[in-house]
């Protein structure tokens, strides 16, 4: 998602000031996406340049109001109608980190997996606390929280899976040694080549 579409969605209700948009954006997405005023105004300027919003003069303290144009509304509905593709999301740093860790000699991949899982479980606990505290009728916030909770859960399951896979591969390469930290260096060289090839 882009801040652009977020602002367009908020302007669908009616014209708003920049500071108002920032507040409402944060309220709708919880604390998950804090924006600064600069980001809001930069985005509004670009939206105006592209004809998607229109500045509506200013009030007595010089604050400029913005309104959605017809093109803006069309763009907003196009966005709602288009599924988000996983490929367009930023690359998964964690997956890349683990993949690289298996190729670097002397790195305890199991420890990375365990540390990450504990950290993700803490996040999950924190998100659940927010959910417990949320008002029952705050549907936008509950939806955002649930999305983050299910994603964190998926990450934990994936980490469990990685852990078993690592245990299995260290058993087959070095049966007597249960964890990756004890693997001899030439073992890593072998993984190294594989890692570089793909």
């Amino acid at each position: 998602m882009s801040i652009r579409h977020g602002l367009l969605a908020l302007l669908d209700e009616g014209p708003k000031y920049g500071y108002q948009l920032r507040q409402e954006f944060e309220r709708a997405t919880g604390a998950t996406w804090p924006l600064n005023v600069g980001q809001v105004y930069t985005t509004l300027t670009r939206l105006e340049r592209d004809g998607l919003v229109r500045g509506e003069g200013s009030d007595e303290s010089g604050r400029v109001g913005y309104a959605l144009t017809d093109e803006g509304r069309t763009e907003l509905h196009r966005w709602f109608a288009t599924p988000i593709s996983r490929e367009t999301r930023p690359r998964d740093e964690l997956a890349i980190k683990l993949a690289l860790a298996t190729t670097v000699p002397g790195v305890d991949v199991t420890a990375i997996v365990q540390g990450q899982r504990t950290s993700t479980l803490r996040t999950l606990r924190e998100l659940t606390r927010l959910k417990k505290a949320a008002a029952e009728d705050d549907l936008p916030w509950l939806l955002v929280l649930d999305s983050m909770i299910f994603q964190a859960e998926a990450e934990v399951r994936w980490l469990d899976h990685c852990e078993s896979r690592l245990a299995r591969s260290s058993r087959s390469t070095a049966p007597a040694r249960p964890s990756a930290e004890n693997r001899p260096a030439d073992d890593h060289t072998a993984t190294d080549h594989e890692g570089v090839r793909r």
């Binding site: 365990q114 998100l127 964190a152 399951r157």
Partner: protein, 243 residues
């Protein structure tokens, strides 16, 4: 009854070995854990890591090979079989994946049963059971049989049964396992609320989403606690503050 001041459940360096010699299985190795009133501790881990063994030890259904298990300050190892059985009936409640309600009894009879087994007169047991059902929000189900209830309703009744009377320790083994995600969440909310109202809970689950309701999550592997989130600190509540 005056509540015991320390942890409701305490495990001290507990190990459980099944069998002997070559074929010995170390189900738990030197595990220490304490759960106090108002606290929920979740236990996760792959199958065979020792989760059920831990719950059985905590519930006095099995005894450790080494170490101590204390419930409300009493070391189960120093009590007679009859005393352990009494403590189990009076202080400990269980919630399982398959609800374990008795099909021939109504909801209120199911909840009253542990009290009656403990010698509470029938009328008083019923009154307390009705109250317990009200506390979990299903008073209207009192006269219904388990077969005429949804999974979520049965689990609510099972939670009422686990906490009726003076029970202050709830042991839950995959309590949401048979429920859809929405109903599972409702059950976790309820369990959490009952624990907040004055019980201690130990929860085994393989779903991280449900473990998220706990104050602390312990991860078992081969009978050892390998990961532990510890308790939530205030510094962690950054999200909450910025909202």
């Amino acid at each position: 009854m005056t509540p015991h001041a320390g942890p409701v459940l305490e495990l001290r360096e507990v190990s459980r070995v099944h069998g002997q010699g070559e074929t010995a299985v170390h189900a738990l190795r030197g595990l220490s854990l304490a759960v106090t009133t108002g606290e929920l501790v979740a236990v996760m881990g792959p199958s065979g890591s020792g989760k059920s063994t831990l719950l059985h030890l905590a519930g006095g259904l099995d005894s450790p090979t080494v170490g101590e298990v204390l419930v409300e300050g009493q070391d189960l190892g120093t009590l007679s079989k009859a005393a352990v059985a009494g403590l189990r009936r009076r202080s400990i409640g269980y919630v399982f994946q398959d609800f374990n309600l008795i099909p021939a009894l109504t909801a209120v009879e199911n909840v009253a049963l542990p009290l009656e087994l403990d010698g509470v007169p029938s009328r008083r047991a019923r009154k307390e059971a009705t109250q317990a059902l009200a506390e979990v929000g299903v008073k209207e189900l009192a006269g219904r049989f388990p077969d005429d209830m949804s999974g979520g309703q049965q689990q609510r009744v099972a939670i009422a049964r686990a906490l009726v009377g003076d029970r202050r320790l709830v042991l839950a083994d995959e309590p949401t396992g048979a429920l859809d995600s929405e109903t599972g969440e409702a059950v976790m909310r309820l369990l959490r609320a009952r624990i907040d109202a004055g019980a201690a809970g130990l929860l085994v689950t393989h779903e991280a989403r449900h473990a998220g309701w706990a104050d602390r999550i312990v991860f078992l592997r081969d009978g050892r606690a390998v990961d532990d989130t510890g308790y939530a600190s205030d510094a962690e509540s950054l999200l909450e503050e910025s909202r």
